[in-house]
């Protein structure tokens, strides 16, 4: 009897499997064209992309027949308009995650390519043209009411990130960024598929990951993404390729530097952009930028400041009216980006320096950590204005960024002392103030900065030394975080190795199964360690960050 049941089951699966193989054989010759096109590096034409989409939908359907799992919750229908050619997805189960970027949600993305509309799965019943028309209409309606809507529906609907919105507060519907879900194989599969579509190579994780951080990526610096790109690669603009390489090798580091470099690369992209026929600049350019952003994300996870800059650029692009001529539109965009850099970064630094100079007195001993461009700028300005102070630069392995700050300060003639972070409790009794830079300021008042910052703030608090954080407002971020584990970046673990007296203790760490190296990049400082935050809007306490964010959103 058992034997009989097994045979029946086996038979059923064989039928489906053979049907699948059948289907694949028909599709194979079409696939060959597409493969050829990919290897030649040409961008897939729209028809080929649509064909790919259809085939994938069929494959998914066959899978669904095999799959006996009941779909949970409301099903999100992924509708792709003509503009979202890069992000098509078949009707998804609620466990799929949409094309992510590392931008912390909610992102008022001006390219809404998904709607929260539970719809039946029987797509084939409507024709494609009807669906397209429906989608277009819905998107126009949505764009008209854009200021009222915030964010995109999160895929983990079961985990219920929706809040019933009170009258003026926005609904907080967050989407989990992909880069903190590395332990979820579904998410990884989706990412791989998306990158394949965008023709960007997938970067592989390297080395043994500490179990506490298995949800984060860990890459090796010796295997940059650009090695896997074909030459010439016409999908990604060469300025962006160069930028990605600079990020992954650490040549461009520091959140201001990365944002400015990113914006300059975007300016180059816009200058070289030519609108294809029958396309609108406002929609097509945004689609062009998406693969670039994925590529940069693969090279190094995007920072909060970069995320905000990207949001701004996308918004400006989509606000270009279709009446605008191409040259005019392009120059307008270039001016917008120039304005952003000038106002948010350069002028903000000036304003912050002016307010901080009041806090620097003569005979002060100031402690700084690592290399923050903003803090360095403040110290230079104060020195120019004639304040007499000396600086203690604290540094830490393995990045040793403090040496760069030390060089710059010494060149200006400021008298400096240099110690490692383990000696900070020795040197703190001499210090009168601590100036720290920030990577991002989170909405619950925590300061996200280079790893080691929270330690310095802790020891400073124990010695009753005031801690001042300097941060421009464009780095303020809607995310909340309470510890340094859930969202962080893991750097190359090989950096921790050191050769002393000719011996490298950890040389063969990969071979020892129970040994792991952990090279964190960021940590979060609780607001009770920070006494003051200096921004271009003034000097505020750490807990006023959400107020500033709200004011900014109302302005926009």
């Amino acid at each position: 009897m058992i034997f009989f049941k097994e045979v029946i089951l086996g038979f059923r699966y064989w039928v489906i499997a053979s049907g699948w193989c059948f289907f694949r054989r028909n599709v194979n010759d079409r696939q060959d064209d597409i493969e050829r096109a990919k290897t030649e590096g040409k961008e897939l034409t729209k028809e080929e992309k649509q064909r790919l989409r259809k085939e994938k939908k069929q494959q998914k359907k066959n899978k669904e027949k095999k799959d006996e799992k009941a779909s949970q919750g409301s099903e999100k229908e992924k509708k792709s308009g003509s503009l979202a050619a890069a992000a098509p997805q078949p009707p998804a189960k609620s466990t799929t995650v949409k094309t992510p970027s590392a931008v912390p949600a909610p992102a008022p993305v001006s390219v809404p390519s998904s709607l929260e509309a539970p719809a039946p799965v029987d797509k084939p019943s409507k024709t494609k043209a009807e669906l397209k028309a429906e989608r277009r209409a819905r998107q126009e309606a949505e764009r008209a009411s854009k200021p009222g809507k915030k964010g995109e529906p999160g895929q983990q609907a079961a985990s219920g990130k929706q809040k019933a919105p009170p009258s003026e507060l926005q609904p907080v519907i967050k989407r989990l960024p992909e880069h903190i879900q590395v332990d979820n194989p579904d998410v990884l599969k989706k990412l791989a598929k998306k990158l394949e579509r965008q023709q960007i190579p997938l970067r592989l994780d390297y080395g043994y990951k500490v179990s506490l951080f298995s949800h984060l990526h860990q890459y090796s610096r010796k295997a940059p993404l650009t090695q896997q790109l074909s030459i010439p690669s016409t999908v990604i603009h060469p300025a962006v390729v160069r930028l990605g390489l600079q990020y992954s090798q650490g040549i461009v580091a520091g959140s201001n530097a990365r944002s400015v470099a990113l914006l300059h690369a975007f300016k180059q992209v816009i200058r070289d952009y030519i609108t294809p026929p029958n396309e609108e600049l406002s929609r097509d350019l945004v689609n062009k930028l998406k693969p670039y952003i994925s590529f940069l994300n693969q090279c190094r996870p995007l920072s909060a400041s970069m995320g905000n800059a990207i949001k701004y650029v996308k918004k400006e692009i989509s606000n270009i009216s279709s009446q605008c001529k191409e040259e005019e539109a392009k120059s307008k965009l270039l001016n917008c980006i120039e304005w952003y850099i000038k106002e948010k970064i350069i002028l903000a630094a000036k304003a912050i320096a002016e307010s901080s100079i009041e806090k620097i007195n003569n005979e002060d001993v100031i402690l700084v950590y690592g290399c923050s461009s903003l803090v360095n700028h403040i110290l230079f300005e104060a020195f120019e204005k004639g304040r007499k102070f000396r600086v203690i630069v604290v540094d830490s392995r393995p990045r040793l960024e403090g040496r760069e700050a030390l060089r710059r300060l010494v060149q200006r003639g400021i008298s400096c002392t240099y110690v490692l972070i383990s000696a900070v409790s020795y040197i703190l009794p001499e210090v009168s103030k601590v100036f720290l830079g920030a990577h991002a300021l989170l909405a619950n008042g925590y300061v996200m900065s280079r790893v080691g910052t929270s330690q310095i703030a802790l020891v400073a608090r124990a010695f009753n030394v005031p801690v001042l954080v300097c941060c421009e407002t464009y780095k303020f971020c809607e995310r909340v975080q309470t510890d340094s584990f859930v969202s962080n970046e893991l750097d190359d673990p090989d950096d921790l190795m050191v050769t002393r007296n000719g011996k490298t203790q950890l040389e063969s760490w990969q071979e020892v199964p129970s040994l792991g190296l952990l090279n964190l990049v960021y940590d979060v400082t609780p607001p009770d360690f920070v006494d003051l935050v200096i921004t271009e809007l003034g000097m505020i306490p750490c807990t006023s960050v959400p107020v500033v964010l709200r004011v900014k959103n109302v302005d926009q």
Binding site: R397, L458, R500, V512, G516
Partner: protein, 355 residues
């Protein structure tokens, strides 16, 4: 004549030991463990007792004090040398008192009652000659040596009382005592160890490789990440260079930060320190006993032109106040930091605090 040869041989031994101490402290020679230093000091003192010429306990104490002063001057940061000298002095006093027949209670610290009733300080000048004194003292020193041999094992035996399974334990730098402690616990329990590497010497790397070879799940982190990962740590177990008389520590640099982080997260801080590390010094000012090594460990000479314009500090030790410490584990059991002063009074005589 055997006499002078013995003496020159003895002085040679002492000189060799002194030069070893001087070299070992600069950080360039092989770093000796404190246990080794303690054992060698005690062996040397035994030799001095056996071979030097003395007639009464007072003479012997003078000789040992003189040698002890020379040894501590050679390497002031190596406090185990001075501690062993004081232990031996206390042994001599005890043996003398026992030979004289008086009970040991009389030699305890003078209480107010005793001062009032005895009517004046008792004159103890240790001038009496007792024939079996030499043998007794040597025997007592041998006992001390056996105790020293077994300290690490005694501490490691207590490991299972303090470590449960699935714990995350944090440590810093390299301590042989803590290594033995953790390896002993790992025989029966499974837990995870995070080692802070302790720049610039990065001794944490050695510790991590040794622990992982014993099958313990180990992670190496940079010093800067101590506070970041502290929230997931259940216990912090560290070794130390010296235990001070008030219950504070003089430990490798970075320990104060670790202790502050542990206090912030209310994580217990356990110090594994054998009794020979207990020193009768008090920390009157935090930086009166600092030790520095060459700053090229921190900023190497390859940095070139900025070197002459920059002050670079490379301190070796950190002071940790007793409020941040939860427990001391020593070869005679576990104690709170507030009990350390009492232990000290049992190990050393108050007149020996200043050698």
């Amino acid at each position: 004549m055997p006499g002078p040869y013995k003496e020159t041989d003895l002085t040679e031994r002492v000189e060799a030991f002194l030069s070893d101490l001087k070299r070992g402290g600069s950080g360039t020679g092989p770093l000796r463990g404190s246990a080794e230093t303690a054992r060698e000091t005690t062996a040397l003192l035994r030799k001095i007792t056996a071979q030097a010429r003395w007639s009464s306990a007072g003479d012997l104490m003078e000789i040992i004090r003189k040698e002890g002063r020379r040894m501590t001057a050679a390497q002031p940061s190596e406090t185990t040398v001075g501690n062993m000298v004081r232990r031996v002095l206390k042994i001599i006093r005890e043996e003398y008192a026992r030979s004289r027949g008086s009970s040991e209670e009389a030699d305890q610290q003078e209480s107010l009652h005793k001062l009032l009733t005895s009517g004046g300080l008792s004159e103890e000048n240790f001038r009496h000659h007792f024939a079996p004194l030499k043998a007794n003292v040597i025997e007592a020193i041998n006992e001390l040596l056996t105790e020293l041999e077994g300290t690490t094992d005694n501490i490691a035996m207590q490991a299972l009382e303090h470590i449960h399974s699935n714990e995350v334990i944090m440590t810093i730098g390299r301590s042989r005592t803590v290594e033995a402690f953790l390896k002993d616990a790992a025989r029966k329990r499974k837990f995870h160890v995070i080692v802070a590497e302790c720049a610039p010497f990065c001794q944490g790397h050695e510790m991590a490789t040794s622990l992982s070879k014993a099958g313990i799940e180990t992670t190496v982190i940079a010093d800067a990440a101590i506070f970041a990962v502290m929230s997931r740590v259940n216990k912090v177990i560290i070794g130390t260079q010296t235990v001070l008389a008030n219950g504070g520590l003089r430990a490798v640099n970075g320990t104060h930060t670790l202790a502050l982080a542990a206090k912030h997260h209310s994580t217990p801080l356990i110090v594994c320190a054998p009794m020979f590390k207990l020193s009768p010094q008090f920390p009157n000012e935090e930086d009166t006993f600092h030790k520095f090594v060459s700053p090229h460990e921190v900023l190497p000479f390859t940095e070139g032109e900025i070197l002459s314009k920059v002050n670079v500090h490379c301190p070796v030790f950190d002071y940790v106040p007793p409020e941040l410490i939860t427990l001391f584990i020593s070869n005679i059991g576990g104690h709170a930091p507030s009990y350390i002063y009492r232990l000290m009074s049992e190990l050393y005589h108050p007149e020996d605090h200043e050698l």
